[in-house]
């Protein structure tokens, strides 16, 4: 054969060999796809449970809405986005509207405009918890006998119940007198597929609560059966599940049920889970930064390598904490309302949770480094020093503090509130038992026990994202007069029936959800500032 043809055939043979590209390509590293998850789970069955953790990852995410907003917002950090917004909407947790921190739109209620970033983030974050929970509920057989599966399924139901409990309180007035009013779309594992094509209308408030109750009942049932113990406090334990249901009955003002659940939660927490109320000694210095504390029932666990932490400043301690590095150093952080601060007895150990009206720390509360840090940052009077920095390192830029979602103290206060509402037992005894032993040795409860409980809740859970729920539930409205707001433009007196208190469904949801119309997100009028007192 001619050289030419030898060469040619060699050429063609090699071409045929090299040719034909591999077209089935998947990413490796940061992202995984369903196919890879299945493969991994086959090789290592432990990995199959990782989707459960997605529920709790959704509580703590770095800029989960970047693509939805088309913007990178430094307060786009998962559930703490809501905590920041709810705190700033209220009248107990005060910050300066200085264009530098991230609370301005919440202070002015501009966050209610339906194309605002906060409006979208609050909505999306709650439904992304629902999404992750639905995936878990759909994946596990509800009749499972396996302890571990029962535990994981309970996480799906419990977290979903929690998400809808929050949604129900943000998007409509409180249950007691708004049962028939439209609330939010209820998407579960059962209608998730249908909602893709047909959208999902808003359910009535009462129907949302039916779903919450169903989910929490199921979670309690599964956790009661399961022998599996949670690895850490990001997961919902049996006491947490009772605690969540106690909260729900509290919101519904079903006091005997609330009492029973609170008691059950306390009993399981203390006996089985070895939890206890924060001691008076421990309350006498900054804390609330680690889920390992014995008074935490449930929390958001934050790790050093989480995106929110490695971002440096896009995290809860940066915005809220005074003793670590972040936004608060430069924007003045958060102060307690002057009115509320005045209500705290000087013997109460919690008086130290804030700088005094001179801007000084209560003697013995802060250590030297903390005092120096406070001075360096020129914190104003009444600035919070309740929350310790991560690992107790003053000024740390590693903002990996855990974030509390539920504490044992709350169960005692729910119990007391239920008792004060005639569900049986002695509210006075419960309240004094808690406050006297753990917060103020000289304490005696006043006669107006119910208002005293409300007050104790505001003090005890200040900064933990619960105050707003009480504003809605107890119909106090928002009255910022005399609270010490630095901006005259932030001083409002908002009636408890004012629609501005309700969050609006975002414009994008109205446009994309076929079952909704613009009437589902009516316009609101922003509050007008009033004279301060």
């Amino acid at each position: 054969m001619n050289v030419k043809y030898k060469f040619l055939s060699l050429f063609l043979a090699s071409a045929a060999f090299v040719g034909c590209q591999d077209m089935d390509l998947l990413p490796e590293g940061e992202f995984v796809t369903d196919k890879q998850k299945e493969d991994v789970a086959t090789q290592n069955p432990e990995r199959a449970q990782d989707k459960v953790n997605a529920i709790f990852a959704a509580f703590n995410q770095y800029m989960p809405n970047a693509s939805a907003l088309g913007a990178e917002r430094h307060n786009d950090i998962g559930y703490p986005t809501l905590m920041l917004a709810m705190s700033s909407n209220g009248h107990d947790e005060i910050s300066d509207n200085n264009g530098y921190n991230w609370t301005g739109y919440d202070l002015t209620f501009e966050d209610r405009q339906f194309s605002m970033n906060e409006c979208i983030m609050v909505w999306n974050n709650l439904y992304s918890i629902v999404f992750a929970a639905n995936k878990v509920v759909a994946a596990i057989d509800e009749k499972t006998e396996d302890s571990e599966e029962q535990f994981f399924l309970a996480q799906g139901h419990g977290a979903r119940g929690f998400a809808y409990w929050v949604l129900a309180q943000l998007y409509q007035f409180t249950y007691v007198d708004s049962k028939e009013l439209p609330c939010v779309p209820v998407i579960t594992d059962l209608n998730a597929e249908d909602a893709v094509t047909n959208g999902c209308p808003r359910s009535k408030v009462k129907d949302v609560y039916v779903q919450i109750e169903k989910d929490l009942n199921k979670a309690i049932d599964l956790l009661t059966k399961s022998k599996y113990k949670r690895g850490d406090k990001r997961y919902i334990s049996l006491s947490t599940a009772y605690g969540l249901r106690a909260r729900m009955y509290q919101t519904m003002a079903e006091w005997s049920k609330a009492l029973a659940d609170a008691k059950k939660a306390i009993e399981i927490a203390e006996d089985d889970e070895k939890l206890s109320i924060l001691s008076i000694t421990k309350a006498g210095k900054p804390g609330f930064n680690s889920s390992k504390e014995t008074n935490w029932m449930w929390g958001i666990l934050v790790k050093e390598k989480d995106g929110v932490v490695t971002s440096g400043i896009c995290n809860w301690p940066s915005h809220f904490g005074s003793l670590s590095y972040g936004y608060a150093n430069f924007s003045g952080g958060f102060q307690i309302s002057k009115k509320l601060y005045k209500e705290i007895k000087s013997e109460d150990v919690r008086k130290g949770w804030w700088l005094d009206s001179e801007g000084k720390s209560i003697e013995g509360y802060l250590d030297e480094a903390q005092i120096a840090f406070v001075e360096e940052n020129q914190y104003k009077p009444l600035t919070q020093v309740k929350f310790a920095p991560y690992n107790g390192v003053t000024g740390t830029s590693i903002n990996a503090s855990d974030i509390p979602l539920m504490r044992l103290e709350e169960m005692y206060l729910i119990k007391a509130e239920a008792e004060a509402n005639g569900a049986g037992g002695s509210a006075k005894e419960t309240l004094e038992g808690f406050i006297k032993n753990y917060r103020n040795e000289d304490y005696t409860a006043p006669a107006d026990i119910l208002n005293e409980i409300y007050l104790q809740r505001r003090i005890e859970f200040w900064g933990e994202g619960l105050a707003w729920f009480d504003i809605m539930r107890l119909k106090t409205g928002v009255d910022r007069r005399g609270c010490g707001y630095p901006n005259a433009s932030s001083v409002f007196k908002i009636e408890p029936t004012d629609n501005i208190l309700l969050w609006r469904i975002p414009e994008v949801e109205i446009q994309a959800n076929k079952a909704l119309t613009p009437d589902d997100s009516p316009a609101v009028t922003l509050p007008k500032p009033v004279a301060d007192i």
């Binding site: 050429f11 034909c20 590209q21 796809t33 953790n53 264009g99 430069f330 901006n487 500032p529």
Partner: protein, 991 residues
């Protein structure tokens, strides 16, 4: 035929040059070349002589105004950065709109800045389906074929070119306030008005309140005091004017405060220098080209320079009569100092944003009580406005001082790029060639980032360091057979068939941490805290088979049919393959018998084409990106993508990052092109007129979904869109003789965009934030609240809202207007865009001017909007445009600028008020040169010597000073790395 003088050599090779050069001009096409005469598609060529005039560090920028149908958008002037090239409009809402670059026949995904523009022989822009169909898969946005220089047979030639120049800002800021006095008085007015109007104060109370607030850092205050006022007096008098006893400059016990000019301190004129050397030669069996170049472009801000050393070797060799081989290897080593955030509009690190928007009341440096700028171990101390640098807290961008960051921080990309290309071509029988071509592009980039430990944000945690290794690998293999034969002399056939497989891989490994030991070292072991590392791989591939038949009859009738079948790994296996075909024809009328007598017509060709192309380039929703390489491309849109996270042994793999859609498939565009090419009057007037259309169907789109589903968008093939228009490209030689050559050229593109069809769910309209996409309308419309001017009674900004009955009314409540009455604006696209220029040569002198323009469009001027605020706290400390002097006051009621009021929230809210004409005329290039007479230079053994002077990117005239409408089709800001003007002198030698 022109006569050629040939020196007597043992073997005489006479190359005959046709004088119908116009027809024989080579057009580089897919998998081969064609001549302009027989080419049936639409293509435009930009050649080395034009490219070399432009002082560009990235060759894409040279296309501005030079080629009909091509529009250049540039929203980042960082040296070395690519421009956005749009060929015949934009065919998709959410898919990539960049053209495919093909370098010497091989698709190129590397960085264009790795190719030295002096190595480029030509850039051919392929615009219609007939030209691009053979790259069917990725050709929907047009193709830019880059052909590198090649040696020619004959005497060896050595070219050397050197130029030195100065960079400056081509676009200056808007007309902003420059006097601290005027700024303070205006800010006082805003705070005072807020006190009186909203906070129910008496004028006296408001006066005190405004004076107190002005130096505080909330409620519209500035946070700084820069005037010394006698004790007991106020800074601003009750007449609203600065206290005449106040003196500029204020000292507390520790520091002295006086404003600096941030723009002057941030921007400076910097050097650009470039040297290129190439040696080429060849004989009848081989050619050889070798080049070496060095470029140093320092930008206009500190530490943003681009340096490149590049070399290239290109050779081919005819081994035997039937075997030819060749290779082309280029290597580029570049260092791009690339400070991040220079295009991130609201970033505290963006020096342009901050210098352009900083009120003229803030110091940039920390000064001691004597007024001297303080130093710390020899380093200037910058004022970060954080209450720590000094005692004052700046309201605008506290903890930011990008000028300081630019000096003490470092961000750099060190790139080694190898682009290589080998081929072997066998000719087993006459007319048949079979070739294999392998193209390999490797880019290894090191990213290093240092956040300084001395001052500013990063100093708070002792500085930070980041290192990353980014590797891009592209490999292309092509096997092509081509058979050419003639039948009966007049029937010419040219048949091509082949296979093309392309694979792309990107891997990265990065780590970052805090607390620097050595404050100047970014190596990761130099930090001790918060160290985290990440690594990942992305992959993509395409493959396809293709065939093409070209036929011509008697050089008068031409026909072409092509077909390609392509697969992309971005789609599910069942939806992976797409079929793309094209057909075209041309009629060379001037070759007909009946045209013989029409002497003024030298060439007249009618051509038409029709065909399809594909696009698989779906992007992440909402402008999201991933990885160190900031990739916007979603390479796995058919799959649900979950983010893997976790720590301490607990994984989470269920957080949905991007929703996928297995039904997703090719976006297909169908194009047609009808045109005439002509040359009249002894070839002195020549040009092309074309009518074109491109209909994209099954558009790739990220459809927004209800967030209640757990995700906020899903990729889909949605609807169709058409871009159509007319292109004109004319060149006229006014003189063309031995002593004087003078030509003028003009190109114009008239283009219309129309959405034909959207997803049926959308019922004809899709609203995405402030954009609206509606069937029957252009995609370039915004969806905005209508501005209703100023309430003459009280000066509030008014907007049009609608009541329950749909009746419009004016209101100061922006949110009412926003929820009841957002409306679509007119089409923002310009009616026509293009370029024109002229060049002249006489007695050794040469001069040319090149301009580009755009007319008849609108742009949303966000830069101006930001400068027209009412003094509200969210804008406190930001500068005003001088138009603010026309704000409403009780005395000035006939104005459309609302009152100054720090409590007003809607003074400059998003509305159609900010739509501005996007007309512009930009002067891209002026070049003047002189070539020394050859009889002089030959004496010093030089064949040719030219000295020249070039001004590149000279300036722009637009509707408003500071507005650069070239940034995008819809909006413009001041928050980007400004375009650079370079004025250079140079020398070019050939020997």
């Amino acid at each position: 035929m022109k006569t050629q003088e040939v020196k007597i050599k043992p073997v005489v090779n006479v190359v005959l040059h046709s004088d119908t050069e116009l027809l024989d001009e080579v057009v580089v096409t897919a998998y081969g070349t064609s001549t302009k005469g027989s080419f049936t598609g639409s293509a435009a060529v930009m050649k080395a002589d034009k490219i070399e005039k432009r002082l560009v560090s990235n060759v894409s920028n040279a296309l501005a105004g030079s080629v009909a149908g091509v529009q250049i958008l540039s929203d980042n002037g960082q040296p070395g950065e690519s421009a956005k090239v749009r060929i015949r409009g934009v065919g998709s809402i959410n898919a990539g709109t960049d053209p495919l670059y093909v370098v010497d026949g091989v698709p190129y995904d590397g960085d264009l800045s790795s190719i030295s523009s002096s190595d480029i022989e030509s850039m051919t822009v392929l615009k219609d389906a007939a030209s691009t169909a053979l790259y069917g898969a990725r050709g929907a946005n047009g193709i830019i074929m880059i052909t590198t220089k090649k040696g020619k047979s004959g005497k060896a030639r050595v070219n050397f070119d050197a130029k030195w120049g100065v960079n400056s800002r081509a676009i200056k800021n808007y007309d902003v306030l420059t006097s601290p006095k005027n700024y303070l008085e205006t800010a006082y007015q805003a705070i005072y008005n807020g006190g009186v109007n909203q906070l129910e104060m008496t004028p006296e109370q408001a006066h005190v309140y405004a004076n107190n607030t002005l130096v505080g850092n909330s409620e519209g205050g500035l946070g700084y005091n820069i005037y010394t006022v006698p004790t007991g007096q106020t800074l601003i008098g009750s007449n609203g004017l600065l206290n005449p006893n106040a003196t500029l400059g204020y000292s507390d016990d520790d520091y002295y405060y006086t404003p600096d000019n941030w723009a002057d301190e941030t921007f400076s004129n910097k050097l650009r220098q470039e040297y290129n050397l190439n040696i080429s030669g060849g004989n009848e069996k081989s050619t050889f080209y070798m080049a070496f170049g060095y470029l140093d472009d320092k930008g206009v801000i500190e530490n943003s320079g681009f340096t490149r050393i590049n070399g290239r070797l290109k050779a081919d060799y005819e081994v035997t009569e039937w075997l030819k081989v060749g290779g082309n290897v280029s290597f580029a080593n570049s260092k791009s100092m690339y400070p991040g955030e220079q295009t991130n509009s609201s970033s505290s690190g963006n020096a342009f944003f901050i210098a352009n928007n900083m009120a003229p009341v803030y110091p940039m440096y920390v000064r001691d009580t004597e007024g001297n700028i303080m130093t710390n171990n020899g380093r200037l101390v910058y004022d970060y406005g954080d209450g720590k640098s000094t005692k004052m807290k700046r309201s605008f961008m506290s903890i930011a001082n990008p000028a300081g960051d630019l000096i003490y921080n470092k961000t750099e990309y060190l790139r080694d790029a190898i682009n290589s290309n080998w081929f072997a071509e066998i000719t087993p029988i006459k007319g048949l060639t079979i070739s294999a071509r392998f193209g390999m592009n490797i880019d290894n980039t090191r990213y290093n980032d240092l956040g300084n430990a001395f001052m500013g944000q990063s100093a708070e945690y002792g500085g930070n360091a980041e290192q990353a290794a980014l590797r891009t690998f592209g490999f292309d293999q092509q096997y092509v057979a081509n058979y050419q034969f003639a039948y009966n002399e007049v029937n010419h056939f040219d048949i091509t068939a082949g296979y093309d497989g392309y694979t792309y891989q990107y891997t990265e490994l990065g780590a970052n941490g805090q607390s620097l030991y050595d404050p100047n070292s970014y190596y990761i072991s130099n930090v001790i805290d918060n160290i985290i590392a990440s690594g990942k791989k992305d992959v993509y591939s395409t493959e396809g088979i293709f065939a093409r038949v070209n036929y011509s009859y008697n050089d008068t009738y031409f026909g072409n049919v092509s077909y390609r079948r392509d697969a992309s790994s971005r789609f599910a296996p069942g939806n992976r393959w797409g079929n793309f075909w094209a057909a075209s024809a041309a009629w060379m009328i001037s070759n007909e018998e009946f045209m013989k007598d029409v002497e003024w017509v030298n060439m007249l060709k009618l051509k038409a084409s029709f065909g399809q192309q594909g696009n698989d380039d779906i992007l992440y929703p909402g402008g999201a990106y991933e990885g160190y390489n900031r990739s916007y491309k979603n390479l796995y849109p058919w799959l649900d993508i979950y983010k893997l996270s976790g720590a301490d042994g607990v994984f989470s793999d269920g957080t949905l990052a991007y929703k996928g859609n297995p039904d997703l498939t090719w976006e297909t565009s169908t194009s047609y092109n009808v045109g005439v090419d002509f040359a009249f009057f002894s070839n002195s007037l020549n040009g092309t007129i074309e009518y074109f259309g491109r209909r994209s169907g099954n558009m790739l789109y990220n459809k927004p979904t209800a967030a209640t589903l757990g995700y906020s968008s899903i990729p889909m093939n949605v609807g169709s869109m058409t871009n159509s228009g007319v292109e004109i490209d004319l060149t006229y030689d006014i003189f063309n003789n031995k002593t004087l050559k003078w030509d003028v050229n003009l190109n114009a593109t008239f283009i219309k965009n129309r959405i034909n069809e959207l997803h049926p769910d959308l019922k004809g309209v899709l609203i995405d934030g402030d954009r609206i996409f509606e069937e029957g309308e252009s995609m370039y419309r915004m969806y905005l609240v209508k501005y209703a001017g100023v309430n003459p009674e009280n000066g509030e900004a008014l907007y049009w809202a609608k009541d329950k009955d749909g009746k419009e009314y004016k209101t100061a409540e922006y949110s009412d207007a926003e929820s009841s009455n957002k409306v679509a604006t007119q089409d923002l696209l310009p009616t026509v865009y293009g370029g024109f220029g002229t060049s002249v040569e006489f007695w050794g002198f040469d001069a040319s001017v090149q301009l580009s323009y755009q007319l008849g469009g609108k742009i949303y001027d966000t830069g101006y909007r930001r400068m027209m605020h009412g003094g509200a706290s969210s804008f406190a400390g930001q500068n005003w445009h001088k138009d603010i002097y026309n704000a409403w006051t009780p005395e000035n009621t006939n104005t459309d600028v609302p009152r100054m009021n720090a409590q007003d929230k809607y003074t400059n809210s998003t509305s159609d008020r900010w739509l501005t004409s996007s007309n512009y005329l930009s002067l891209n290039n002026i070049t003047i040169g002189y070539t020394l007479p050859s009889d002089i230079v030959r004496k010093i053994a030089i064949e040719r010597l030219r000295v020249y002077f070039t001004a590149d990117n000279v300036g722009i005239i637009s509707a408003r000073k500071g507005l650069d409408p070239r940034q995008s089709y819809t909006s413009a800001t001041t928050a980007i790395y400004t375009p650079i003007r370079t004025i250079s002198g140079g020398i070019s030698l050939t020997f």
